[in-house]
Assembly symmetry: C2
Homo-oligomer: 195 residues x 2
Amino acid sequence: MDDRLRKQMEFALEIDKEKNVFRQTHLSGHGRNENDAEHAWHMAIMAYLLKEYSNEPVDISRVMIMCLIHDIVEIDAGDTYAYDTEGLKTQKEREAAAKERIFSILPKDQKEDLLSIFDEFEANVTNESKFAHAMDNLQPLMLNDSNGGGDWKEHEVTKDKVYGRQSKTREGSEKLFELTDSILKKHIEMGNLKD
Amino acid sequence: MDDRLRKQMEFALEIDKEKNVFRQTHLSGHGRNENDAEHAWHMAIMAYLLKEYSNEPVDISRVMIMCLIHDIVEIDAGDTYAYDTEGLKTQKEREAAAKERIFSILPKDQKEDLLSIFDEFEANVTNESKFAHAMDNLQPLMLNDSNGGGDWKEHEVTKDKVYGRQSKTREGSEKLFELTDSILKKHIEMGNLKD
């Protein structure tokens, strides 16, 4: 096997570990915790299905690959729950080291390509990254909604914190933020989100 | 929520069940069984990374969405192990009913779009579908190889059966079939594949 293909296959095997990074979100039907690979798969399909709601036209191919790889650094850095204030303080540092190690397994040109996609997601400036972020918010919201808001209740999440994160969906999709807002209002009324 | 978005979200929630469809393949590091959603995620990223090895140029966006949705029917029909002769007899029938039920949740235009992608994969005639099939073979082969061929040993799979399936990788990628062939020869030598 030549060196280029060997590096590509080594990376392909390395990312298998993302299936062991578990999130706070639970699968529908009050299932087990979801892992990062499943979350990314779900986001990419939702992006494809919901692309008509992006505020601006998007290159859906780039949105999909962005969704698929956006959590790869968590193989080393672990999942940081969106409402974990302490974890969020060290998240950047942990993820930067992970990013360098993991993407360096690839041939140089592909390392640069995947880093540019990963960094574009993080910077959240382009249309594609804003829509991918909307999926990153909507997918767990949908699961949590289907489970009666159990994830918020378990972590005693406040409505301000949820709105702080979920309102960013608006930058990618006004329409999907309307949906988000109606779901959040329902859970506030039901007492699933604390004041 | 309008009717179109309601249908799209219902479908998005329905496919969450794919995370509960477990395959015979085990995760690397002698891990647990892999599920269909993880398998699809892994295939789509591998397609993106290995597209240079496709025999013919491919629309990578179509290959990725094809990889992501190709096992959705298994939500109802279950996973049929590639080397399960009895299961393979009824697979088509079970999957046809599942296909109709699940994709019918979507708005009509999206049902037609996803069915065309799904059927294209199954027909295995276009460049995109042949390359997606190569990923469908290579991804579990890679995991099984990393685990010392444990999945073949567990099911006492013969080398003829494995070559029967894996040789189709050649239609999508000569280069990746060369890699496949070298991996299989190693496992035959090690006695992990029966005569």
